[in-house]
Point group: C2
Chain length 213, copies 2
Amino acid sequence: MRLGIIGSGKVGRALGAWAAKLGDEVAFTSRTASHAQEAARSAGHGARALDLNALVQDAEVLLLTLPYTEIQRTLAPLGEALRGKILVDVTNPITADHRALSLGHITSGAEEIARQFPLAHVVKAFNAVFAEVYATHQAQLSGRPLTLFYAGDDAASKQQVRKLISRMGFDAVDAGPLQNARYLEPLSLLNIHLGRVLGFGTHIGLSLLREPS
Amino acid sequence: MRLGIIGSGKVGRALGAWAAKLGDEVAFTSRTASHAQEAARSAGHGARALDLNALVQDAEVLLLTLPYTEIQRTLAPLGEALRGKILVDVTNPITADHRALSLGHITSGAEEIARQFPLAHVVKAFNAVFAEVYATHQAQLSGRPLTLFYAGDDAASKQQVRKLISRMGFDAVDAGPLQNARYLEPLSLLNIHLGRVLGFGTHIGLSLLREPS
């Protein structure tokens, strides 16, 4: 899979390095070129650093890992280049102190992004697990696979994203249409509160237990 | 523990019967007296049916399992009787079709209830697992305890509720102040969508996996 990582912060670096290790063709981009170069060097396995336009042209699947407030201005110049691209929204519309959502209930960050960039196929995924977990390149905790919820409105795009999630070893769970990001973004805040405020630390995550009923 | 179940629908009946089996003194109430009587009969273990005033007077812990839209009118006449009572909010502020929240993001059903009934100690708990799971009187799925998140602003009240959650066999996880019900109510909608729309069925729930970090 040709993966383009938009944003070379903790989450983008960790996911990109993991995908590169699994054999994907990974490219990083960043406002600061040296950050993308360092991410690529650190990832190895043929990972490259590209400018945004080249990365978007080349990739099949884009992982959007920018701060939410930078998305509009960063992606707006891309215009037609986003047509048909799978845009995985890894972000959370979060307040400056990272302790609350900046929007929700009647919308979600994912839906806002889809509204702003209607040419792309937005899939919500990877937004509710800490970068520190991704950086282990292990999808389990306590010997059990973490569940990774994903949501979106385009079935084919969701299938592609599901493949990536599963290849990493997560329990991939289709959480429905993109509108259900209204439930996945609060999940990320619950994760942040548990991990950073309530003392559970960053090596946490959810597993969806289920039995036939 | 003296438990008063307000609302004798599926959730109230299942939780009340389970607590009665575990040795709690349980009373049910309902707008329709025969529903409370049937709930008590079905629960056994000394469970009783009482009118609302008698139940609230008697109980240490109240489990609020009414439809969200009935809470204000049902509890308003209680006035002073709610002073110091632990009011466990098992409800979700949900639309008529049970497919979305009716409020959220800048508030939660739990906070609205706490605002309306400031004499009580509101604790959010039990709101994000199906009645069908509670009705099994088992806190595990696939051999693993379900995590039950709870939240509230009064430490002593939270401790009491934690004891009940743990006695049932759940993995009790303190999710912080009552404001974090803003994340627990969306969790319930995620549960509903997974179970009733996306085909996972009702025998589902979450486990919070964690390791030292």
